[in-house]
């Protein structure tokens, strides 16, 4: 049972002017970047991480989570006005959002998106708050063998569900392990793969690597794809429509309450499974809603149920993807993996022990998440018209700006020029991996999990020695390895679900 003083302390920690300003700034930056076609939330998070080094832990976490939340809302703006999702998460929103905007109701469509998005996010946060502490207690009872088995399962699921093939996903994970083992061995201090370079003794900076692989490689793709003769994207005029066409009444929102609740449950469930993400949740919720509707033909013509299904589900993933991170120490997706680096920078290891050792921080983060939802609503309400102009910003200013931020962020994060070189090298690796169909998600998650996995692996080896029959005394681990084999078999021979999105394979 959580001590009341911890909760009151956490509330007091969050309710400082600095924290509230950073939450507001995070939400605003997230919405701005989400609304800008070509920039993604992950890119925003990767670039924002170095900026949080000077902040205290709670402020840094609140800021990054707010960027993540804001980005999910902002991504709907270009999806509705341009039929180009600002972020992969909003891809399903284009299906009904754009037709509604075409019918002269762009503001109404954006408001539907905003309200359902905030509902999904807020509900999912509440579920996270309710379930994470009990799950963490269960997780604390697991030994190294069970942890090893659990991480094997999680990585197999992630490798299998994202990217173009399971073999490539697992290969990417193996590469992630290998790159993470660069530097001094945590147990013995022996240098590994340092090639005589002093800077490599501390290992490869997760932040510089994230900026390179997630942000810079995507920017390089976009710059390479930019064509001189490409016509600028023209957004729909947001001044169109009557007053009625620009407002959403409470009754109109409640008309889709069952759609929104179902979408929230789908998004939360998908978010809690490592590897799946907002894009999958949005499309799955949309297709289920359409299949269950009495008039499926209305979908795709500007039906608010389509926006409710997509936006509620994709936003519900944001809170839920912290469930595996906080309870098991396994990031559910890339955004969660990036938030992990904020923990690591401040000397904290995400996982079930956080509830024991840093309960006030965890609950402070929860309250910051709840506050961020209301700020998201307010900023979205005020900023909607402004974001509508942002969507038409030319690529020639967006991408060079992103390159500058990536380089400067790496310099600041990794303590000098070596950070930029790591960023450039990993950007090239990321570009090649994307081009050749290797999953960057699997790579990054494996890179992050390597120290924990290696520790469990070595501990398991010490515990059982060469007597593998001892594993029979660990039925949970055997069950988890069994599930791993079933996952491999099932996903190799049954049609694979759609990936995390076209952007992050």
């Amino acid at each position: 049972m959580v001590d009341v003083s911890v909760i009151t302390g956490a509330i007091a920690d969050v309710l400082t002017v600095t924290n509230l300003l950073y939450i507001l700034a995070g939400v605003t930056i997230g919405q701005l970047i989400g609304a800008t076609p070509g920039l993604s939330i992950v890119m925003a998070l990767a670039i924002a991480i170095p900026l949080t080094y000077v902040l205290d832990t709670l402020t840094a976490l609140a800021f990054l989570i707010s960027v993540n939340k804001g980005g999910t809302v902002g991504g709907a703006v270009p999806a509705i006005l341009l039929r180009v999702p600002g972020t992969p998460e909003s891809a399903a929103t284009t299906l009904d959002g754009y037709p509604m905007a075409q019918k002269g109701q762009p503001i109404k469509a954006m408001k539907y998106g905003l309200y359902y998005s905030v509902f999904g996010d807020l509900s999912s946060d509440l579920i996270l708050i309710l379930v994470s502490a009990p799950l963490a207690i269960i997780a604390l009872r697991m030994g190294p063998i069970e942890i090893l088995a659990l991480m094997t399962l999680a990585l197999t699921v992630i490798s299998a569900l994202v990217g173009s093939s399971m073999v490539k996903g697992l290969t990417a994970a193996a590469l992630g392990f290998l790159l993470a083992s660069v530097g001094s061995d945590p147990g013995t201090g022996t240098p590994r793969f340092t090639f005589g370079i002093i800077e490599l003794y501390d290992g490869i900076s997760l932040t510089a690597l994230s900026i390179g692989m997630l942000a810079m490689s995507e920017v390089m793709f976009s710059i390479i794809a930019a064509r001189r003769d490409a016509a600028p994207m023209a957004a729909l005029d947001i001044r169109a429509g009557s007053r009625e066409d620009r407002t959403v009444t409470f009754r109109e929102l409640m008309a889709n309450k069952y759609v929104a609740i179902r979408a929230m449950l789908i998004g939360t469930a998908i978010g809690a499974i490592p590897g799946l993400g907002s894009t999958t949740a949005g499309f799955l919720s949309y297709s289920i809603t359409k299949q269950m509707a009495r008039d499926p033909g209305a979908f795709g013509t500007g039906d608010p149920r389509g926006i409710a299904a997509s936006e509620t589900a994709n936003s519900a993933v944001v809170g839920a993807n912290l469930i595996p991170l906080l309870t098991l120490g396994i990031p559910g997706n890339i955004a969660a993996a990036l938030i992990v680096s904020a923990f690591l920078v401040h000397g904290l290891q995400p996982g079930p022990l956080l509830f024991e050792n840093q309960a006030q921080l965890v609950y402070g983060m929860f309250f910051a998440m709840l506050i961020a939802n209301f700020f998201n609503l307010a900023v979205g309400q005020v900023g909607m018209r402004f974001w509508a102009y942002i969507v038409s910003a030319p690529a020639s200013i967006i991408y060079p700006g992103a390159v500058l931020f990536c380089m400067t962020g790496s310099y600041a994060a990794a303590g000098g020029f070596f950070g930029i070189y790591v960023m450039i090298a990993t950007a090239l690796l990321g570009y090649l991996m994307r081009s050749l169909g290797y999953s960057i998600v699997a790579f990054i998650v494996a890179f992050f999990l390597e120290p924990m996995l290696e520790r469990s692996f070595v501990q398991t080896q010490l515990l059982i020695g060469s007597d593998y029959w001892l594993l029979l005394h660990h039925p949970i681990a055997i069950a988890l390895w069994g599930m791993t084999l079933v996952t491999i078999f099932y996903l190799c021979f049954v049609k694979r679900p759609s990936a995390e999105g076209a952007t992050y394979v």
Partner: protein
């Protein structure tokens, strides 16, 4: 024509073998008296790569296309511009090197409108520099 899955599978397998036979023995040394082998986990990874490379070899997965040569050319220009900019930062400082890099990138993207050119080439580097120097209090070269 060699199948792409054969090339990728082969490359991963060869990479795993190279790790096992050359990189790990030369780059991960076990010190006398150590209870655990620091090369154990990298060795497992190398075997994993060999196994997965072979699996890819036979999987007939060709769900990608090789990037066109023109794209690779542009990639080299971008990487080159960044590397030169990093090198130049030590001598001419952040703003000048960033202005030159931004100018190259904007030109590459085909921007011809004066106001966007000015904003991208001058406004962005100065803006990012000011953000890090004054707001985040982080010294740039």
């Amino acid at each position: 024509m060699i199948r792409s899955d054969v090339i990728l599978g082969g490359a991963v397998t060869i990479g795993g073998v190279a790790l096992l036979l050359w990189v790990i023995p030369n780059q991960v040394a076990m010190r006398p008296g150590e209870l655990r082998d620091p090369a154990l986990f990298p060795t497992v990874c190398a075997w994993l790569l060999i196994g997965l490379g072979l699996a890819h070899f036979v999987s007939r997965d060709r769900a990608f296309s090789w990037p066109p040569l023109r794209d690779l050319g542009r990639l080299i220009i971008i990487l080159g511009a960044m590397l030169v900019a990093v090198w130049a930062q030590r001598y001419v400082g952040y703003i000048l090197s960033s202005v030159a890099m931004a100018a190259l990138l904007v030109t590459m993207m085909g921007e011809r409108r004066i106001h966007w050119l000015v904003l991208s080439i001058l406004g962005l580097p100065i803006g990012v520099w000011a953000l890090f120097e004054f707001i985040f209090q982080h010294q740039l070269p």
